[in-house]
């Protein structure tokens, strides 16, 4: 049986832990709000660029661009977005598991290459000696587009320079605060553009011409997809961490309750014993 002091020690250390986890929960809540806002302010840009790209790409079907056409897949690129830190429940492991599932479909390491974003993805790939094209760690919690631009351009260039023939992004999609879903999204080639919304049957004039515009527009579009995925993943990360820390805090509370109960019982037992000893001693004197 643990002594009174042991239990007291455990209560105190659990209380300290609870302080940390609840602080982390609050920090994550604040960051989640900002991340959600970022994701929201990105939406207009994304919608607009999507609309224009779709209307050009589906308007006249003689618009032919290497980024729009699928080619034989010899090598696949995977953009894996994880966090730099753990303590976010299954956030990182879900993504990495999905990556592993995908990679196991390939016969050899020459058939794929990984673009690792976040410390967790980097370590994962290093440990397994996977071929890595780029690795990025330490992305800000509120990334600007300028921070991501270089990475996005590099990723798109992998496809443009025909180093890879298709690129997938694997990341946590933010559905709600309590649910983040691992998503695998095809980044390139852009095949699912005409999503059937012909509401704006606008026939544009193109200056100078369609082809040149696609040359400028498509890389920008692909880059903004990468940026969007990172924003999405950041929001999910904070939500996941918030939930994980909330659970940890709740568990700590339960544990403290249990321990306090045991502590009080033991203390009461000790007092009762003391009293009965005194009473016993006194009655022996009479």
């Amino acid at each position: 049986m643990a002594s009174l002091n042991d239990i007291k020690g455990r209560i105190n250390s659990t209380k300290n832990m609870k302080k940390i986890t609840s602080a982390m929960e609050m920090v994550s809540t604040a960051k989640l709000n900002r991340a959600e806002q970022n994701a929201k302010s990105f939406v207009p840009y994304m919608e607009k660029i999507q609309e224009v790209v779709a209307s050009i790409a589906s308007g006249d079907s003689d618009a032919n661009h290497p980024m729009l056409t699928s080619r034989d897949v010899k090598k696949t690129g995977y953009v894996v977005i994880t966090a730099d830190r753990g303590l976010a429940g299954a956030f990182n492991s879900n993504v990495l598991r999905e990556l592993n599932n995908n990679l196991s479909k390939h016969k050899s390491k020459d058939e794929y290459i990984v673009i690792a974003i976040g410390k967790m993805a980097r370590e994962f790939c290093r440990k397994r000696n996977m071929p890595v094209a780029t690795e990025v760690v330490g992305i800000d919690d509120q990334p600007d587009f300028a921070d991501i631009k270089e990475l996005a351009t590099e990723t798109v260039n992998l496809f443009v320079n025909e180093e890879v023939d298709e690129i997938y992004m694997i990341y946590n999609h933010f559905e709600s605060i309590i649910s983040q879903k691992v998503t695998e999204k095809k980044l390139l080639p852009l095949t699912d553009l005409d999503s059937g919304n012909q509401k704006t049957s606008s026939s544009y004039e193109y200056e100078p011409n369609q082809e040149d515009i696609l040359n400028v527009l498509l890389p920008q579009y692909a880059e903004s997809l990468v940026y969007g995925a990172i924003l999405d993943s950041k929001a999910s990360e904070h939500a996941a961490r918030m939930t994980a820390m909330k659970n940890a805090t709740d568990n700590a509370n339960d544990m403290i309750d249990d321990l306090s109960l045991t502590y009080n019982r033991l203390r009461q037992a000790a007092i009762t014993q003391e009293i009965s000893e005194i009473v016993g001693g006194a009655s022996a004197l009479e």
């Binding site: 970022n38 302010s41 990105f42 207009p44 840009y45 994304m46 607009k48 660029i49 224009v52 050009i56 600007d144 587009f145 300028a146 631009k149 606008s202 026939s203 544009y204 004039e205 193109y206 200056e207 100078p208 040149d212 515009i213 400028v216 527009l217 920008q220 880059e223 903004s224 940026y227």
Partner: protein, 133 residues
């Protein structure tokens, strides 16, 4: 005067939305002036300034990596970055300019050269626009 609604949108959020009488900007093929009632048009913009005119006033924006979408009653400028003169970080632009110039002088392979050129253009553009205010 008739006006046209201009909205400037970047990945970091909307920058500006307002009614203007005229938009003038620099597309890849040269200067473009857009008045209200223009036919639908899409054109990529160079790293340059966009000037928006209203009642004798003129607003200016530094854009890079952008393109212009015109409809008869509204104009949308989508850019990877767009800043008002007051929002430009002059110190940072100046440093970026120096860095780019250094890189251009030490001749390296092709891609770096191109990147440095673009960086220089962006920095010079920002400094120009910040200076005119």
């Amino acid at each position: 005067m008739k006006t046209v609604t201009v909205s400037v949108v970047t990945p970091d959020g909307p920058v500006l939305e307002n009614a203007y009488e005229m938009v003038s900007c620099k597309a890849e093929n040269g200067e473009l002036g857009i008045l209200p009632g223009h036919i639908p048009l899409v054109a990529p913009l160079t790293i340059s300034s966009v000037r928006l005119k209203k009642e004798g006033d003129e607003d200016e924006l530094a854009v890079s990596g952008g393109f212009l979408e015109v409809r008869p009653d509204n104009v949308t400028i989508l850019a990877q970055s767009a800043e008002k003169p007051g929002d430009i970080d002059v110190e940072r632009a100046r440093k970026a300019k120096e860095r780019a110039e250094r890189r251009l002088q030490s001749k390296q392979d092709d891609i770096d050269f191109k990147r440095a050129q673009l960086a220089l253009q962006r920095a010079v553009n920002r400094l120009d626009i910040a200076g005119t205010k």
